[in-house]
């Protein structure tokens, strides 16, 4: 337990003391939320963009932490031989993975608190005109599934690519999923073929789920549950099968 707590503390410390990671996990989401709430350039289809932006940017925050930050950090640890070296300590892989997962969840809780706080300051009205927040449980479940899906994708890349290649690929993937994921730009604004493609990716499924539950007060669609669940199981399994520790 002592080793798990020490590892968890180290993982969280490394996320919060690394400038790039901090910019990725907090800087970008908060800046996007502030900027696009004030500057109405996005086709959000609403007179009150913050209502669209908070759920979308919460999905973005989940993706940035569980996929991008986790993948870049793990990739470099693998490249520097840290994962290999930890293999000959009593820490063990289960505790190392547990520490990483809990660290990601802790950062996500912090991100959510900051983004929701900023959202309220900007006049966010959750659950649409009725103010329904009864679906917050569904939203949380969708975020957990999204974390598993994105974490699996991030570790799949970190465990197979060289650190610098991984850095480039995972950043590119972040931008692509950001644009195609309905986080800033509604899926309805995409060409039909692109929107159809997006709908089977975890980014769009998560942002749709959050837009529904936290934005319009509608439950998560069955298709989004299925997409999230398939990615949440499939990506970690494939990552586990292909991960190379050194």
């Amino acid at each position: 337990m002592r080793s798990l707590l020490a590892q968890l503390r180290a993982e969280v410390t490394m996320i919060f003391t690394n400038g790039e990671t901090l910019f990725l996990t907090l800087g970008i989401p908060v800046v996007f939320l502030l900027f696009f709430s004030a500057v109405h350039v996005l086709p959000t289809g609403t007179a009150h963009p913050v209502d669209f932006l908070v759920p979308g940017i919460l999905a973005l925050a989940v993706m940035s932490t569980s996929m991008t930050a986790l993948s870049i950090g793990t990739g470099f640890e693998r490249g520097y031989g840290v994962l290999k070296r930890l293999g000959s300590t009593p820490l063990g892989r289960p505790r190392l993975l547990t520490a990483k997962i809990v660290a990601v969840l802790a950062v996500e809780i912090f991100q959510a608190a900051v983004l929701i706080g900023v959202g309220y300051l900007l006049g966010w009205n959750p659950g649409g005109p009725g103010g329904a927040t009864a679906l917050v449980g569904e939203a949380l479940l969708a975020m957990v599934l999204g974390t598993a899906a994105f974490g699996g994708i991030g570790l799949l890349l970190a465990g197979t690519l060289k650190p610098l290649v991984n850095l480039a690929v995972v950043n590119a993937l972040f931008v692509v999923l950001l644009l195609l994921g309905g986080m800033l730009i509604p899926l309805s604004k995409l060409p039909t073929w692109l929107a159809d493609l997006s709908k089977v990716l975890p980014a769009a499924a998560l942002s749709e789920a959050l837009h529904g539950t936290l934005g319009h007060g509608t439950p998560v669609a069955a298709r989004d549950w299925v997409v999230l669940a398939v990615w949440a199981v499939g990506a970690p399994v494939v990552a586990g099968l292909t991960f190379r520790w050194e």
């Binding site: 003391t17 520097y80 290999k84 300590t89 050194e246």
Partner: protein
């Protein structure tokens, strides 16, 4: 070398002294490449065993098999009586590992990393005392990636020691370390040996093996070529020669006659001579005659040496890849290895 005689060969082979590290007929393959080829040796508590060989000899593969990183293609390994693969969880608290390179979070400083690793073990060493021991007390907060190569190696050594291990595996512990750092590393290694640890290290540097190891296992192409104390290895391939240097072009025939019947002298390089004595010759008497003849002729005497160094033994052994013929001490085929070995 100076510790070679503290290890008593008789005690090592006594039946009640079980080896801390056992390699028995180990084979390691990577695809079609044979990295380790039926290698067997043991290492014991209270000794420093050096795996010595040129780059690519199979040293790291062997050590990583003992650390549980490499599956074996054949043979068995045991560390403290445990299988490094299947008994991994029971073994890791009892071993200390220093990888050939890396292994440390690049953004964390020595103090942070040592405190983190200390938390992995039941009864760790004091991280701050270890920092001072390896001479990193002034670099406590410097991120690993900004440490010099030697500082990184010393931090890795400290990390290997933090859990109070019974066996230390050190892969090239002095590679990239400056001369002062090397002394620190060597002192730590011998102090751990004196505390009763079994220290297994790899090196491609002869001088390092000669200085720090009680016993040396020489391997090349994954095979054991020779095993023994540095003194045993050097004398095992000795050829009863006396080497010396003086002015070039002396009258070797006259000198040989003065030294005694049956001796022969060759000038191997200008000013460098090798005097061969007949079997059973009295070496001290021959040295006295040699010195006397040179003095009579007003010549200086330098670099007088009987037997040979471990370096010559190593070159002979790895150069011929068999028990060497004493005459072929300078192997013409060993040039490349030689230059690397001397680095």
């Amino acid at each position: 070398m100076d510790h070679a005689d503290t290890a008593d060969p008789a005690a090592r082979t006594a039946p009640d002294r079980t080896p801390a590290v056992e390699c028995d007929d180990v084979v390691i393959r990577y695809g079609s490449t044979l990295a380790v080829d039926h290698l067997s040796f043991n290492a014991y508590r209270g000794e420093v065993l050096a795996l010595l060989g040129p780059n690519g000899a199979g040293k790291t593969s062997t050590v990583e098999a003992l650390e549980g990183y490499r599956p074996l293609s054949g043979g068995t390994v045991r560390v403290l009586g445990l299988d490094p693969g299947s008994d991994h969880t029971a073994l890791v608290p009892r071993i200390g590992v220093m990888l050939q390179k890396g292994g440390v979070y690049p953004m964390l400083g020595p103090a942070q990393v040592l405190h983190l690793f200390a938390a992995y073990y039941e009864d760790p060493e004091d991280p701050d005392a270890l920092l001072d021991l390896v001479g990193l007390g002034d670099a406590r907060r410097t991120p690993w990636r900004r440490l010099s190569g030697g500082e990184q190696q010393r931090l890795s050594l400290a990390l290997a020691l933090i859990g109070r291990p019974e066996v230390l595996f050190l892969d090239e512990p002095t590679a990239g370390v400056d001369p002062e750092g090397r002394i620190v590393v060597r002192d730590i290694i011998t102090a751990q040996r004196d505390k009763g640890l079994c220290v297994l290290l790899t090196t491609h540097e002869l001088a390092e093996a000669e200085r720090v190891a009680d016993r040396v296992v020489i391997i090349d192409h994954g095979r054991l070529l020779a095993e023994g104390t540095p003194a045993e290895l050097a004398s095992g391939t000795a050829d009863g020669s006396i080497r010396f240097s003086t002015d070039p072009g002396i009258d070797v025939a006259a000198l040989a006659a003065a030294v005694g019947t049956g001796s022969a002298i060759a000038e191997e390089r200008p000013g460098s001579y090798r005097l061969r004595l007949p079997d059973g010759a009295d070496t001290p008497a021959a040295v006295a005659s040699l010195a006397g003849w040179l003095a009579e002729h007003g010549l200086s005497l330098g670099d007088l040496r009987t037997g040979q160094s471990l370096e010559e033994a190593y070159l002979a052994i790895t150069g011929t890849r068999s028990v060497p013929d004493p005459v072929t001490v300078d192997p013409p085929s060993g040039r490349r290895r030689r230059s690397r070995g001397r680095r």
